[in-house]
Homo-oligomer: 183 residues x 2
DNA sequence: CAGTGAAACGGAGTAAGTCTCCGCTTGATG
DNA sequence: CATCAAGCGGAGACTTACTCCGTTTCACTG
């Protein structure tokens, strides 16, 4: 790639990050172009669809996921506390941008979505946490990772759309934890 | 209201029902007007916002809710089976139109949404089912109706956006049921 | 059963956003 | 420094949301 193209691409991602945080993932793309000081044509050449731009944005979060798993697993207390700490991180990551939770989770089951690889990282992280629970013998039989990811995605989507505070999210995560762990 | 106005209003609701079922709740409103054989001005006079039209559409479902509660409570088996039957109905009702689940559930906590009265009907119905569970002594302590509604709304939203089949939704409802009922 | 005023209509028009096309510019290369 | 493909930008075509106002229609009254 030519140096100027690379520069524009980087700048677009940076600006998009900013615009999406301010106005949600549905913000006008021409605004991103304008603020980045490029024409719309340039934006669309680099990112043919809105989703492609979302994907580029989210690449930066992905790197944090592994760290968040570790952090959650280091929580004081038993398995339940660790699991809930992870659930809270999961929801916090998904709700970082307005509108992101629904889109990421929707692409979980969809093979051909460009977001697929990103949400796979979340799913893998959750799987590792569930595996830890299973190793400790506290996981119910028949609990499927994909289902838990979807449940958490649903909670994150609700939290996103209703602008719920963490203390309003917590009781929902409690119910899911109860449903996932042995009594 | 003048007779011609009433006629147009009825026709708009009827056509909107059709258009929204075909193309989702985000379908172009001008298309609704065109198919109904009225100008856009007429549509916007009767329904100033998209949400107002949604509300009118959903009024017809609301009447079914009470019946669905009864049907679910008549399910063969124990409390768990009844609860799951109701959960399945709840999700089915919310996913009847593409995009409806997220919007209805989002307006649950929001006092000033025009959808509020509609979703209150769902919340009340769910409350009555939870009360039945409590009466039978199978409900966990501290389970809140609003949280369960949001969880179900989240599941419905995921089902909607990923076009999940009932058999893919069921395991999520199982987890919620586990989380809501005593072990 | 006209006449009349208010209610309601319709559609042209404005605005906002998406996305493409193509003539011009610029960076890399020999 | 000449060349030319890669890349740029922005005008403009298209789509959808929503408004404004001249015209039509209904309901009521004498």
């Amino acid at each position: 790639m030519r140096a100027d193209a690379q520069r524009n691409r980087d700048r677009l991602i940076e600006v998009a990050h900013e615009v999406f945080r301010e106005r949600g993932l549905d913000a006008p793309l021409d605004e991103v172009a304008r603020r980045a000081g490029v024409g719309p044509g340039t934006l669309y050449r680099h990112f043919p669809t809105r989703e492609a731009l979302h994907e580029a944005i989210m690449a930066t979060w992905i790197e944090e996921v592994a760290g968040q798993v570790e952090k959650a697993m280091a929580t004081e207390g038993g398995c339940r506390e660790k699991l809930l700490a992870w659930f809270e991180e999961y929801v916090a990551l998904l709700t970082r941008h307005q509108g992101a939770a629904a889109k990421i989770t929707a692409s979980l089951g969809c093979q051909d979505s460009p977001l697929r690889t990103k949400c796979q990282t979340y799913a893998d992280a959750n799987e590792s946490v569930l595996a830890e629970m299973a190793d400790n013998g506290v996981l119910r039989e028949g609990v499927d990772n994909l289902d838990v990811c979807r449940l958490l995605g649903g909670v994150a989507t609700m939290a996103d759309q209703s602008s719920l505070a963490p203390e309003d999210v917590r009781p929902m995560l409690d119910v899911i934890a109860n449903g996932v762990l042995k009594a």
